[in-house]
């Protein structure tokens, strides 16, 4: 890599690493795994830097796909361990229930692709066509996955809807 390209790459990392790390943290729920995910994606990006015109889109695509694949490999393990997660919705009915804790626990119980699709739809705010693009699946798959993921969230954490309805906009997170 030439000095100018290397400088551009460093500039890109300086500008975007915090945002990438936020996404990675959302996807992994773990600081160390988030670091690994960002670092690996940046390595792949550096290796192809000369050919990449949209580095931010490229590195995100790598991160999301890698994460879905990691999850796919860990699927059996994940399903086993999620069976042991206490039923959050039943655990705490007090008004002090922290929405964030509920969502984190519920989000962690979703299947890999479900998590990725929800993150792309509701965190990155991408339309279905772009979600399909990032993950390399069809729009039909994105739709059915979103539908099933939301249904599962409603099932795992029914108070999410109640919390929103009672508290109104901006009243829940503390």
């Amino acid at each position: 890599m030439r000095a100018a390209e290397e400088a551009a790459f460093r500039e890109f990392v300086a500008a975007r690493s915090a945002a990438l790390f936020r996404t990675a943290h959302l996807l992994t729920g773990d600081r160390h795994r988030a670091e690994d995910l960002v670092q690996n994606a940046l390595l792949k990006t550096a290796a192809r830097w000369r050919h990449i015109r949209e580095p931010d889109a490229y590195v995100r695509r790598v991160m999301y796909r890698e994460q879905v694949n990691v999850w796919r490999r860990r699927r059996i393990l994940t399903e086993w361990s999620s069976a042991e997660v206490p039923d959050v919705s039943a655990a705490d009915h007090s008004h002090d229930t922290d929405t964030r804790v509920v969502i984190r626990a519920a989000f962690d119980r979703l299947a890999p692709r479900q998590r990725a699709v929800l993150a792309l739809r509701y965190f990155e705010d991408l339309p279905e066509s772009r979600v399909a693009d990032v993950l390399g699946v069809s729009i039909g798959t994105v739709r059915s996955t979103t539908h099933r993921a939301l249904a599962k969230l409603r099932q795992i954490a029914p108070e999410l809807e109640l919390a929103g309805a009672e508290a109104g906009v901006g009243g829940v997170s503390r």
Partner: protein
Amino acid sequence: MTLERELRRALRDLADEAGEAGERPGPAAAVLADTALAGAARRRVRAASATSVALATVAVAVVVFAALPGRSAGPVAQPAASAGPSSALGVDAVADGPVALSAYTVSADTPSGRVAYVRTEGQREFVRTDWAAAAVSPAGRAIAFLGREDPGYLLNLRNPDRQTTHVNLPGPASAPQWSRDGRRVLVTVYAATGQGGHGARTGFAVVDAASGAVRAVDAAGEPAGLSAAEQEFRWAGDGVVATDASHDLRFYDLDGVPTRAIASSGGLATTAADPVSPSGRLAATDTEGRDTVVDLATGAVVTTLPAGLGPCYGWYDDQHLIVATTSAGGTRFAVTSLDGRPGRVLATAPADLAGRFLFSPNAT
């Protein structure tokens, strides 16, 4: 919609856990960059030892692509491995008729993350290009395409004699779309950003296919909050239409003067390259994730497709949509009546083939 709203906020909160208040999340950028650059350098050393194998692959690819049309301006030799064999739709997957599948894009390991496959009228098989986006003209003989980047600053127009004109655009632009008369191409223009991606749309440009003349129009239309595909301008009769930040439909003439607006909850169907029907009376729209049809005279939703159907890829004629249905066996693109009854299948694709699918009228 309460769950969705809560989810948006909760996911932002979760992501914020990455860094405590005021702290920059994650490791220092310089460390990340150093590690990535060092790792990439090691990879290059390993890759060099495998060069002889790679050369053999390229040689094969050149032979294949040399036989394809328009090689000088179009498809560039490259190993086809990145998109995989399942990306090329076979001859049997596509039905010919008054309206047929003429181009589609799939994910690939390229700068834009996509490559386009096209077939012009009379061609039975799709050709893999290295273009990020392409559209075949309604008469079926000309192609408008971006280069390897999407958005790109250059619109390429290939006429039926396979001569290509390169047209400079006023800014990064995406998604070329032919007018129904095949004389003009519409692109959406965005604000340039320094690093990656593109900014909000700033307007659109209309390119005359015969002369290459560009008419650029500033019509930002307050697109804040819209995602990339929702930002695109589409043809609407003699003018254009775009979804605004509230998901309402806003119509403009070709000088960028607003002509009218129609309230909508989800905006134009992003999967349809031509969401407005041939007569200009109806538009395919999205309402809470369901496919709907809006009567442009009254603004009323006249049709909501059954939940299992969709998304919509445009119009077959004024009484029929082109609607996809995905099952384990694949995605079927069927001519579908406005009451949701699927008819003739125009194309089938593997269920996991992602990207845009463009249907265009053939010459009769």
